[in-house]
């Protein structure tokens, strides 16, 4: 197991290298002037700006040189300081948010992770529960109702559903506001006395003993979670239900019944765990998707995660930021896939990790 993990981890740099080559290669489809224009916001004022950008970012250099510049950075001729170089954690400057991309990611990612942690429960557990119940009551009223309920969910475009619940629960009822925190609590969190132990807001709030801040944070996360959940349940329901029906037809389920297990034990101890394999895959991808930032949901609910930032950067052709996010997402994806693979082994002893 350990060897397997180490071997997989050793692959990470190579995979990231591949990702970076791919992304970098795609950029080369633009000519130097066109790429320089990506560094200039809005309408430009002078020729010098373009020339300076071409020169500064070495946009007319050979590709390998540009790539190494991007990888290890360049030494500024005047100040003697290193500029750029993702190997040194410098992902460049995010024009859209006026800060280094690395700062943007390190500031935004905890928010996304926080949302992921709280959203995973409702999405996955309820999704699985719906699927299991549907399978157990195959073709019964619960099954039909759950399927209709969740199909309605999948057919909603995210932002239509998002805006709908926002209009109802915020604009009209004012129960669940968008954003991250109310202004009052945002001041608390920014104050000296509030310690950022984990950088995850909800956990920090609890560790600081600020239940009010915690509740306010949850209040702001409710609608994103509701939206993400409702839109994901159909998928979980379908996969879990199919897998459960398949499993319930297995001989060992009959065996379990013949043993004299109660129906509940038959389902919970024998059928459900065995039906989880495809669900683990789905859950893995769902979690990876959430961690990569959920663009539309974060944007609609003004939730400051990396999805919203990536959307903003893409919309404004902020290539440097998009590149940074792509690399970061590549990393997340690779690590999350590894975790999912390891989880397989836990869920199914037949899977040997070697």
């Amino acid at each position: 197991m350990m060897t397997y993990i180490i071997r997989r981890l050793m692959l990470v740099p190579f995979l990231l290298f591949g990702v970076s080559i791919l992304i970098f290669g795609m950029l080369q489809f633009l000519d130097p002037i066109e790429r320089a224009s990506l560094y200039i916001r809005g309408d430009f004022k002078s020729e010098g700006q373009i020339q300076a950008a071409v020169k500064k970012y070495c946009l007319d250099c050979p590709i390998y040189e540009q790539y190494t510049n991007w990888l290890i950075g360049t030494i500024d001729s005047v100040s003697g300081e290193r500029e750029g170089g993702i190997l040194f954690g410098n992902f460049g400057w995010s024009k859209t948010t006026s800060q280094p991309v690395a700062d943007l990611i390190s500031h935004r990612f905890p928010n996304t992770l926080d949302l992921t942690i709280w959203a995973v429960g409702p999405i996955i557990l309820i999704g699985i529960w719906l699927g299991v119940q549907s399978a157990v009551h195959h073709n019964g009223i619960f099954d039909q109702a759950a399927r209709i309920f969740s199909i309605v969910g999948t057919s909603f475009p995210t932002f239509v559903f998002g805006l709908l619940v926002l209009m109802i629960f915020y604009a009209n009822l004012q129960w669940f506001p968008p954003g991250r925190l109310s202004d009052t609590y945002s001041q608390v969190v920014r104050s000296e006395s509030f310690h950022h132990y984990t950088t995850l807001l909800t956990f920090d709030a609890l560790l600081n003993g600020r239940i009010d801040v915690f509740l306010d944070a949850l209040r702001h996360m409710f609608l994103p979670i509701l939206t993400l959940s409702y839109l994901s349940w159909a998928t979980f329901l379908r996969v879990t239900r199919g897998s459960m029906l398949e499993t319930l037809r297995q001989e060992y389920v009959t065996t379990a019944r013949a043993k004299g297990l109660s129906e509940r034990d038959v389902i919970n101890k024998h059928a459900r765990p065995n039906a989880m394999l495809p669900v683990v895959t789905l859950a893995g991808f769902t979690v990876v998707g959430l961690m990569g930032g959920v663009i539309i949901t974060e944007t609609v609910f003004d939730y400051p995660g990396i999805g919203a930032a990536a959307a903003q950067a893409s919309a404004q052709l902020d290539v440097i930021t998009v590149l940074g996010f792509a690399m970061f997402n590549g990393f997340i994806l690779i690590v999350a896939n590894l975790i999912v693979d390891i989880l397989y082994g836990v869920v199914d002893p037949r899977v040997r990790l070697s």
Binding site: N139, Y252, T254, T255, G260, L261, D265, P273, D348, P349
Partner: protein, 327 residues
């Protein structure tokens, strides 16, 4: 074989029909008559072999007896208790006494559980044993089925087919049942291992005074182990007799056809004997032929066979047959 006359299991007019639903509104349009009126007894200590082609309803009969399916009609009484009347918990407790060994040693063991858990679980759910006692019992059971007790921490996929089937046997034995339905326990195994398992089952029968309903799809498999043999065709019994009687003097044309398909060890004699080759396919159990179920493939069928269903009658002591043409 210490068959006595005490009736352990009594099956009367058992019917198991699976409904067929069609269309948008899932209307019931018919039923698969998997078991369509079956009556027989099993005596304590004996082995009743149940033979028939695939799809004839023999496995369904076994499962319906154990109430793994809810029968459409008829009665099953075990040690005098009407199983159909037992509710949840009572039935669950009754399961201690009646167990099943499955055909597929791969599919019938939960792949996520270790051998110890698989064999020990019945002990736990029935509160027969707890804690360390379970481990002891599991070790003992594994020994009984000639498996190394150290295997109890392994998963089923680490074993061969024969070993797995013995795990299945150990599991079935765990609660010390008096009655075991062996649902084609050797069909999926290599021929070399079949005898091993059959011998084990016989040994265990003697050791624990077990009663078997031994289901198989051809007569050769049950010849060795059975005291009596029943032949089933398309949801009904066509012939039941003492083993020797049946093999020596099969009365029903279907039994005769099945027997003629059993190879005999002497190749010369085998080549000489007359064969009854059945034509056509088994009709659909959703739409069985009128009158005698077998008439569509019967070499000697007459007009009356289509008109009325032959009575399942005792033609000589202990020998029942359902055929108009047998006297």
């Amino acid at each position: 074989m210490s068959a006595n006359n005490e009736v352990l299991l009594q099956v009367k007019d058992l019917e198991m029909h699976f409904p067929i639903y069609r269309g948008v509104f899932q209307r019931k349009v018919g039923a698969v008559r998997a078991v369509d009126g079956v009556t027989f007894d099993v005596r304590r200590g004996e082995t009743l072999g149940l033979v028939g082609e695939s799809g004839c309803g023999k496995s369904t009969t076994g499962r319906t007896i154990l109430q793994l399916y809810k029968p459409t009609n008829g009665g099953v009484s075990f040690e005098g208790n009407d199983l159909l009347k037992l509710k949840g918990e009572e039935m669950r407790l009754m399961r201690r006494k009646m167990q099943m060994i499955f055909q597929d040693p791969y599919a019938s063991l939960n792949p996520r559980m270790t051998v110890g858990q698989l064999v020990g679980e019945p002990l736990m759910v029935h509160n027969v044993a707890t804690g360390a006692e379970i481990n002891e019992r599991v070790a003992h059971l594994l020994k009984v089925v000639n498996l190394n007790p150290a295997f109890s921490t392994r998963y089923p996929h680490e074993f061969s087919g024969g070993q797995r089937q013995r795990i299945g046997v150990a599991r079935a034995l765990a609660l010390q049942p008096s009655f075991i339905i062996c649902d084609e326990p050797i069909s999926a195994l290599d021929v070399s291992i079949q005898a091993q398992v059959v011998n084990l089952l016989e040994e265990l029968q003697e050791q624990f005074n077990l009663t078997y309903l031994f289901i198989a799809h051809d007569l050769s498999m049950v010849k060795h182990i059975s005291d009596r043999v029943a032949v089933m065709y398309l949801g009904v019994f066509v012939e039941v007799a003492e083993r020797d009687e049946l093999y020596a003097k099969p009365l029903h044309p279907y039994t005769q056809a099945l027997l003629s398909a059993v190879p005999i060890p002497d190749p010369v004699a085998d080549a000489k004997r007359a064969r009854t080759i059945l034509k056509g396919d088994v009709p659909s159990p959703a739409n069985p032929p009128s009158g005698c179920r077998f008439r569509t493939r019967c070499p000697i069928a007459e007009a009356r066979c289509a008109d009325s269903r032959p009575e399942f009658r005792e033609v000589s002591p202990g020998h029942f047959v359902a055929c108009h043409l047998v006297n």
